[in-house]
Amino acid sequence: MVSENDTSEKSDTSEKKVRVASLARRRHRVTRSLLALPLGWLVLFFLIPVSLVVAYSVGILETFTKEEGVSLETWRIFLTGENVYMLLFIKSFRMALIVAVVVVILAYPIAYFLAMIADKYKYSLLLLMIAPFMTNFFMRVMAWKVLLGRQGVLNSFLIWSGLRDEGNPIEGLAFGEIPVMIVLGYVWIPFVMLPMFAAMISMDRRLLEAAADLGASRWRAFWKVTFPLSLPGVVASFFFVFIPTIGEFVVPKLVGGTKGYMFGSAIDDLFGMGLDWRTGSVLSLWLVMAVFILALLFMRLVRFGRLAES
């Protein structure tokens, strides 16, 4: 009796085990096929193109017969600063940093207002903020030329009002580093607002009540509670601007003039007019790596933020 019972129980459990295992396998298969799509995507649209660019950068592939051979020479020249592009990268990095910081600082109060104060009108106002950005990108950039150019609205007004002489308009607003940064900032502000808005809107309002209850003034509650909790949004916003700005080349082309030339402009030119895909590839890869490292940093920061929120 006893032994019979035992065996039946054993077979029962082993059957169960088998069933569980097959279930697990099936789940595994499903997971694997689910992974295939993004993986394939990654291979097709990232790894293969990047490998090609790597091949160009070391001379394995070339578009024009230059017979320079396979070497890291182009890398060496770039990394040792023998040509000007490392300096140009630093300049672009600096510009992107300034644009990102300024834009985040400017957008923060707007996001704060919309999320914390605007109450039931917040989404309508948000839409209003974004509405101008549904117009064509070039039109928006060109509008700045109209505003800031030598014969632009600003200068016309200054001359009309007698604040400046006819022959002496404010220069350097239509072209150069500053206009590039102004235009980029203008282009990015609404997008930058969104992550911060999202971070603030998802914040538990009772935390502010708790702070007030514990004696904190509004100012103190903002700095001790709202601000630290909106930091993940701030970080996200910062990178939203920083990453595209550092590789920007369209806006420099439109309003950069000779002084507003950026790292992205050089990549654009090297692949285009320069027919120098090798140097272009080195610069592109460097940019990809820089952005990648920053993105990692960014994800770490945001993850930290998420942990803090949960």
Binding site: K66, I267, G272, G274
Partner: protein, 416 residues
């Protein structure tokens, strides 16, 4: 042209190119010549084209009649049989011509339609951009119409093959300076169509040049009031200045190029705004006096003069820089005979006159002197085989990728 770039770049580039306002070609002055059919403002383009098409249809009918009469005596009898056989073996409707937008208007190749099927056209977005695309095999035309700063690269890379000039009766009428610049080792690799001089111009009421030289474009007194084009040909311009002491500005030595790069890095700071690729803005700036000196194709000088702007040009003591544009026969062209027929039509006297009258360029056909604008005859020396003697034709630039690299570094340095 942008395979190795990230998708955003490419998309933006396409947008840019599509806009037509900002073509980032390597040599916009030359590009101006190539894109002569596209007047500066996009809106105007369409109007012009439509207008021309209407004119064309009636003209074509007339041309057909003339051609029919002329054909029998046109080609030498020796190649006659081969030519006929060759044409018959091809499918002329497949003839693909890769040219700046506007070249598809039949008045620019009169006499071809009616005898042969309508060819196909694809629009280029600048000489160097199209060079890249051809090299990658992104497009496989029979005929390619760039400006010849790409000549050295195109020939060295084996992209193009020599024309059989015996199949191009009009070739005999072409300017020998231009045909010489586009031949190598006795092979005629290109058929020139038009040319221009890169002239320094200035507002005579606002400035008095110190000397007759391209040096006006590097004059620090004009800092902030000079425009350059976005092109490596500035090494040629700078190389022509006696102070830079370059033996052959069209092919500087490494040492000379290094010196030129330093010179250019110093001088680019006097350029206030953009290295223009937008002719309309440049013209407006000159008209308003925002810009006092510039470097243009004669086209713009003529247009500004027409507008009544007090504009003068300098005939540099060191000699002019010139450019020409025209037709390459692609190495793997499969409409060989139709290509020759078409090119012959495209450099005919009628075609040449159209080019000069519509766009104020010099034309390669020495017989096409009856242009509407007498200024053009004077300035460009139309019809004079010796007119381009001593002109540094950019067609003869060697190893231009070296110069392009150097040019991009100069621009990058200006930004640092």
């Amino acid at each position: 042209m942008s395979d190795g770039r990230d998708p955003i770049s490419r998309r933006d580039f396409v947008k840019l190119a599509g806009k037509g306002a900002l073509v980032a070609g390597a040599m916009p002055a030359a590009l101006a010549a190539c894109g002569e059919d596209a007047p500066p403002e996009t809106v105007v383009v369409t109007e012009t084209v439509i207008e021309e098409r209407i004119v064309t249809e009636t003209e074509t009918v007339i041309e057909e009649k003339i051609v029919e009469v002329e054909v029998p005596g046109e080609a030498p009898t020796t190649t006659m049989g081969m030519r006929e056989a060759g044409l018959a073996a091809e499918n002329g409707a497949d003839l693909l011509i890769y040219a700046p937008p506007g070249r598809e208007v039949p008045t620019q190749w009169p006499g071809y339609l009616g005898r042969f099927p309508h060819p196909q056209f694809a629009a280029t977005a600048g000489s160097f951009a199209s060079l890249g695309e051809l090299q990658l095999g992104a497009i496989e035309p029979d005929i390619w119409n760039p400006c010849f700063a790409v000549f050295d690269t195109a020939v060295s890379e084996g992209l193009v093959q020599p024309w059989d000039t015996s199949l191009i009766p009009n070739f005999a009428d072409l300017n020998p300076n231009l045909t010489a610049a586009t031949s190598r080792d006795g092979n005629q690799y290109a058929i020139p169509l038009l040319y221009g001089l890169a002239i320094p111009i200035y507002r005579a009421d606002l400035y008095t040049p110190k000397e007759n030289s391209y040096s006006i474009l590097f004059d620090e007194d004009l800092a902030g009031k000079v425009t350059w084009t976005d092109s490596a040909e500035w090494f040629v311009v700078a190389g022509k200045l006696p102070e830079n002491n370059v033996a052959n500005p069209l092919d500087p030595t490494e040492e000379e190029l290094d010196r030129l790069v330093e010179f250019m890095k110093r001088k680019i700071r006097i350029v206030p705004a953009a290295l223009y690729s937008d002719l309309a803005t440049n013209q407006t700036d000159l008209a308003t006096g925002n810009i006092v000196a510039s470097y243009v194709a004669p086209t713009q000088w003529i247009e500004l003069t027409k507008q009544g702007v007090d504009i003068a040009f300098i005939t540099p003591d060191e000699g002019f820089i010139g450019f020409s544009c025209g037709y390459f026969l692609m190495a793997d062209a499969d409409q060989y005979y139709h290509a020759h027929e078409w090119v012959n039509a495209a450099v005919s006297v009628e075609a040449a006159l159209t080019i000069s009258n519509k766009f104020n360029f010099g034309n390669s056909n020495l017989k096409a002197t009856a242009v509407d604008n007498p200024l053009l005859v004077d300035v460009m020396g139309l019809g004079d085989p010796a007119a381009l003697d001593g002109v540094s034709l950019l067609d003869k630039m060697q190893n231009i990728d070296r110069l392009n690299d150097a040019w991009i570094e100069v621009k990058a340095a200006a930004g640092v």
